[in-house]
């Protein structure tokens, strides 16, 4: 594998040098020309020409920074040293490296110039490598998010499906032996689990509306905050008639850019989460407020048992179950929350979870555009 790798690299470099040779020559020539002209100007207008060498050092740094490879920097260093000798040291207008002390001075000057150019080129290469790595890391992050999602989904789908298949087959097999109340119970289990599956599928559909390539590629439109909230709440109430919700939206009218279906899904998930996991009869508070004129803050507050601290840390990460909790004891809130986070992130917002004195608070922020569309 190694030779192939090398030849590939050298080929790559050759291809690059073909394209970039011209660039290197142009940049080097231009910067050197500017350096010569400005140093000549410096020399002619002031008495002190010795500092002209500084201009060449600057030129060398610039050349190394804006060209590819080490060569242009080395060539520029040599030309610079020769030019300093020719123009700015006695005898003026002649090349003379043999005067007393000159060999050491110019050798030193050349060495400094070479080291400077080499260091600059090296730094440039490092910076490039660093940005490359950052890109890879971001890719990995996306990949991780998708993997988490898939894991959460496949787990969460299996549980209700098992229950549906089990209940319906035991109904079909033992129809004669079962009492009416037992039958009712089986069918109502099927009903509940099918509803749960529906919830899951809606979340998955939500994800398909997000194109992973770029954050800007969801279909945003200007939507009134109160209408989206109202629809989410009415859907929630239709599905969970026994869970009371108290809604409060700002008196002022706000329209912000969003995909209304996705934001509705987030509100729905958070409300559902509160209704199922809080184990409380008290009404859930849904409060929408404007914050600093830059954000709309949606807050869902329940008065239940709260979230355990170790779970709080990874609650949006798609790990459905906290440590020490049996995986089948509870239906995961993992997938719903992971999707909430994904949706809010592509909208340029943030989502947080914490406990208050009597339960849990989930809140997310959506940006208000600085220039409201007329």
């Amino acid at each position: 594998m190694r030779p192939a790798f090398f030849s590939e690299r050298t080929q790559g470099r050759e291809r690059m040098s073909q394209r970039d040779l011209l660039h290197n020559i142009t940049v080097t020539a231009c910067i050197l020309a500017v350096a010569v002209i400005s140093s000549a100007f410096f020399f002619l207008t002031t008495d002190n020409g010795n500092n002209a060498s500084l201009i060449y050092v600057l030129a060398i740094v610039l050349i190394s920074r804006y060209t590819y490879g080490y060569h242009p920097g080395i060539i520029a260093s040599i030309i610079g040293v020769v030019a300093v000798n020719f123009f700015f040291t006695y005898p003026y207008g002649e090349l003379n490296f043999t005067m007393t002390g000159y060999p050491i001075t110019f050798m030193g000057m050349l060495a400094i110039a070479l080291i400077t150019s080499a260091t600059t080129t090296h730094m440039k290469a490092q910076a490039e490598a660093l940005s490359e790595r950052e890109k890879l890391l971001m890719e990995a992050e996306k990949e991780k998010m998708r993997a988490n999602l898939l894991r959460a989904v496949s787990h969460d789908l299996r549980t209700p499906l098992t229950a549906i298949i089990g209940s319906s087959s035991s109904y079909l097999d033992n129809r004669e032996q079962l009492s009416q109340s037992e039958k009712d119970q089986l069918v109502s289990h099927i009903y509940d689990d099918a509803n749960w599956l529906l919830h899951m599928v809606e979340n998955l559909l939500a994800v398909t509306r997000i194109h992973p390539e770029s954050a800007a590629s969801i279909n945003k439109s200007m939507e009134p905050v109160e209408e989206v909230v109202a629809e989410a709440v009415s859907r929630f109430k239709a599905r969970y008639p026994e869970s009371p919700v108290q809604v409060c939206t700002p008196e002022e009218f706000y329209m912000i850019p969003m995909d209304p279906t996705l934001i509705e899904q987030v509100i729905m998930n958070l409300l559902e989460n509160a209704a199922i996991h809080a184990h409380s009869q008290e009404a859930i508070d849904l409060t929408v407020t404007a914050k600093d004129g830059q954000w709309i803050r949606f807050q869902i507050k329940d008065y239940g048992q709260g979230i355990s601290p170790e779970r709080l840390e990874t609650i949006f990460e798609g790990s459905p179950y906290g440590a020490g909790e049996s995986a089948d004891s509870k239906r995961g809130m993992g997938i719903g929350l992971t999707i909430c986070k994904t949706i809010i992130t592509v909208h340029g917002g943030t989502i947080t979870a914490h406990n208050h004195a009597h339960g849990a608070v989930f809140a997310f922020l959506l940006p208000i555009p600085t220039q409201p569309c007329a």
Binding site: M222, E223, E231, V233, V247, T249, E251, F253, C373
Partner: protein, 234 residues
Amino acid sequence: MSTKLSILVIEDEKNICNFIKTSLQLQDYKIITSATAAEGLSIANSGSVDLILLDLGLPDMDGVNIIRQIRSWSSMPIIVISARTKEQDKVEALDCGADDYITKPFGTKELMARIRTAMRHSNRLVSEDEKYKRPYICKELVIDFDKRLITLKGQNIHLTQIEFKIVSLLAQNAGKVLTYDTILTHVWGPYIEQNNQILRVNMANVRRKLEQNPAEPQYILTEVGIGYRMAEED
């Protein structure tokens, strides 16, 4: 009326067809089912159908085309059955002349309510001028179209010209969803640019005047991405 109302269900999913059939038959409707658009159209053309439930995703024809064909000769109520994610399809179907839509998955109760609303509207067409004289009454809201008066809990509500136009349009079609475009053309005329923000802002003002809590509206319900629906009269 001794004869049963007959409903044509055009839907290619057998399970859904069966579920609709079972629940509607229990409500004393006569049900005809069809799995393809071609068959459905020929049944509809035979003239024995009072209402159509139409699935938009049929294998042999675009649902919107079916609506257009039926609308070319009949004004019978058409209720579209569609999946949640495609707002654009619903809007297109409604603008083509569908009376209402219902989103999968739906319960029997919801389906029944939509069918009753659609039937009522189709009957009303006969007595067009009658309904302008009869006020709209829902819970504590009364709209008198004749006197251009709106009262909430007996209190007079002041609306602007435009706001009143929107509310009365919605109230005359209570229970039916009206798309943004429909409302825009009826209220502002056909030359209004296709930007529904002006409508959204007006609706927000109406909501603040009519609803106790704008986030939990009782009278004017939002169908995000599609339009508005006024609550049915009591």
